[in-house]
């Protein structure tokens, strides 16, 4: 009885297999083009990897349905880097060895992206990070691209804004990592060039949640404004403690604080925070509206700026693939990426400089008013 069951099972398996291969036959004519996506899907930074995966999956599904690339289907291959540079390098080696993969998206942090970039540079596989903003990242080789304005662009933008509002003495508080360093140096240079003065620079260790001592120290200098270079959870803690310490100094921040989570955590203490951003979920632009609606209906959340950047990064990659056609390989994809110009994404029009591969985007000004991010005209 068991034997007959086994035989029947095997027969059923063969039949099912045959059916699947029959069904797959017409699809065989369809070429499969793969994109690797490395991002922190578990661990402390998993919330970012998660929104990247959401956005990228959405973008690829829409692309495959659109018929922009007849004769080929694009698939995504995700790997979890845990925000660890060693993992990032391992993934990069794996992606390089996979002949289906023509391009890679990710990683999240500059540190991990730059570690993996060494592998991609040697093997010649185009890498497009949605968030790595360290100035040296694109300098690694001609294979690195990014879809985020760097601090070299954002720092001066906010500096000009603050100086224009009569804030001449500004204190800076930033996280102690590669990115935080670039926040401080770019902002400081711009403020000093614009005739202002940076009264103090305070770095804090990642993981620190008590900013009372730093705020007290900064308040002693009586600056006209404070500039924050950090992420939403740190920012929320800082803003709450700022209110509790009764420090009423106007505060500006990097675009990394543009996240609904900031307001959810900090509540009324986030009111009045001014920041720059490339993406506004409440923007009336039709592309943005379509993306926000689709994302919200599917994932039950409003996309953050990081989600939007991943969406655009994936679409830029896909547009470059479509441009080359189904015969795309790593080299032709790279060349097509370098020619990206005026790409109409949800984070504004994006152009890659063909030489430096630095993106140019439009930045917008935002202020938190009554628990809402509002565009400043």
């Amino acid at each position: 009885m068991t034997l007959s069951k086994t035989i029947r099972g095997v027969l059923a398996g063969v039949a099912a297999g045959a059916a699947v291969s029959m069904a797959a036959l017409p699809a065989l004519a369809q070429k499969t083009i793969a994109l690797g996506y490395q991002a922190p899907l578990t661990g402390e930074m998993s919330q970012y990897g998660e929104v990247f995966r959401n956005s990228a999956t959405l973008a690829v599904e829409q692309f495959n349905k659109s018929g922009k690339l007849p004769g080929a289907t694009v698939v995504l291959k995700f790997e979890d880097s845990k925000n660890d540079a060693k993992e990032g390098v391992n993934i990069a080696k794996k992606f390089v060895d996979d002949p289906e993969i023509v391009g890679v998206l990710g990683d999240f942090s500059s540190t991990v992206s730059m570690a993996a970039a060494q592998v991609y540079a040697q093997a010649g596989l185009p890498q497009l990070s949605q968030t790595a903003s360290h100035p040296d990242y694109v300098k690694i080789s001609e294979w690195q691209f990014r879809n985020i304005t760097t601090q070299a662009y954002e720092g001066p933008f906010v500096a000009k804004w603050a100086l224009g509002e009569g804030k001449k003495k500004i204190a800076v508080i930033a996280i102690q990592n590669d990115w935080g360093q670039s926040v401080v140096s770019n902002f400081k240079d711009a403020v000093e060039k614009g005739g202002g003065q940076v009264t103090s620079v305070e770095f804090y260790n990642p993981g620190n949640r008590d900013f009372r001592t730093i705020l007290t120290k900064v308040a002693r200098e009586k600056p006209d404004a404070i500039y924050l270079g950090m992420f939403d959870e740190d920012g929320a803690s800082l803003l709450q403690q700022r209110r509790q310490l009764n420090v009423q100094i106007p505060t500006y921040a990097t675009s990394s604080l543009y996240s609904p989570k900031l307001i959810a955590l900090a509540g009324p203490s986030s009111d009045g925070l001014k920041l720059s951003t490339t993406f506004a979920a409440d923007s009336p632009e039709p592309v943005v509206k379509a993306y926000v609606d689709e994302y919200q209906s599917r994932y039950k959340a409003i996309p953050t700026m990081f989600a939007a950047q991943a969406y655009d990064a994936t679409n830029i990659m896909l547009a470059a693939i479509a441009k080359v056609g189904p015969t795309v390989d790593r080299k032709t994809l790279r060349d097509a990426l370098a020619q990206t110009a005026g790409f109409p994404g949800v984070t504004g029009e994006t152009t890659f400089d063909p030489q430096t591969r630095e993106p140019t985007k439009q930045l917008a000004r935002m202020e938190i008013k009554g628990g809402q991010f509002a565009l400043v005209k």
């Binding site: 770095f203 260790n205 009372r212 007290t216 308040a219 310490l245 009764n246």
Partner: protein
């Protein structure tokens, strides 16, 4: 000259120190009795905070009710922790096993295992990101006294620390169970021979220590306005440092050292970048261990 900013830094440091002290009290109590570190104490703290926040989100009861509920959760957590990670290693009651260091130190790893499992489960259920405490219940309202800024949470935490410390001293020196806790801490085998139920005493110690840990968790969560799965780790390490500096089994010593650490970190931030203030804490630990190997308040003193 009265420097308001400097005094403000002392206030900041004192409140950070009190947070360490709240955790260190329970930590030291359990160490005193078992002579082994309970690595899951930070997770009891975290579980207390999450339990409180879940209750607040669901029912928004007054603070007293929240604290009572969290105390109950802490008691259950302490009992369960002891049952899971400590009791199995006491099943052999012969003298060799009771004196065995290996048996005792195995609980170091079993409590670490429990702490990892609990943290991961909480992360799976509630997510790894920070969750806000509902704003009406937060203890973050500013209280301005002259040039100094306090917050409601600082007063509550101060009150809780005093109450816990005094309550524990009363429990240890004025009650029957306190007497047996001190006896077991002093000499577990001797206590057993004179007829003290050591098993029950150890369970009682875990329940008392974990109740304090859980209450500390919810109060600190209300003071910072948020909870996250790894919230017990960093202050837990500092509480551990305070315990070692204070002489491992001296509760007053641990409290004093915890407050000292908080003050030292705040004052260090005045002169150095915040990142360096960590070094100050560990520097003090190193100095203590080199010059006072039994801790600042340890040695000849009564255990616990």
């Amino acid at each position: 000259m009265f420097d308001a900013f400097f005094v403000q830094q002392l206030v900041n440091g004192f409140s950070v120190g009190l947070v360490y002290a709240l955790i260190a009290i329970g930590f030291t109590l359990i160490f005193g009795v078992l002579n082994v570190v309970n690595f899951a104490h930070g997770e009891v703290y975290m579980v207390g905070a999450y339990a409180g926040v879940v209750l607040i989100t669901a029912l928004a009861p007054p603070l007293v009710a929240v604290v009572l509920f969290v105390m109950a959760v802490g008691a259950v957590a302490g009992f369960g922790l002891e049952r899971l990670a400590f009791k199995p290693f006491r099943r052999f009651q012969d003298e060799a096993s009771l004196k065995s260091k290996a048996m005792r130190e195995a609980t170091l790893l079993s409590s670490l295992a429990v702490s990892i499992i609990v943290r991961e489960v909480v992360e799976k259920v509630f997510g790894g990101a920070m969750r806000p405490v509902p704003f009406e219940s937060q203890l973050t309202d500013p209280v301005q006294i002259g040039e100094l800024s306090f917050s409601t949470g600082q007063f509550v935490i101060f009150g809780a620390a005093v109450a816990m410390f005094a309550g524990l001293q009363f429990l240890l020196y004025r009650t029957r169970i306190g007497l047996s806790i001190r006896a077991v801490a002093n000499n577990p085998l001797g206590a057993k021979y004179v007829g003290i139920d050591t098993d029950r005493t150890i369970i009682a110690t875990f329940v008392v220590g974990s109740v304090m840990g859980a209450v500390a968790g919810i109060l600190v969560a209300l003071y910072y306005g948020s909870v996250f799965p790894t919230m017990g780790f960093a202050p837990g390490v500092k509480a551990f440092v305070a315990m070692v500096m204070g002489g491992l089994s001296s509760i007053p010593g641990a409290v004093i050292c915890a407050i000292f650490l908080g003050l030292a970190e705040a004052v260090a931030t005045e002169f150095l970048a915040q990142g360096w203030s960590e070094m100050i804490a560990y520097g003090f630990l190193l100095l203590t261990l080199i010059f006072f190997p039994t801790g600042l308040f340890g040695g000849a003193r009564d255990r616990v």
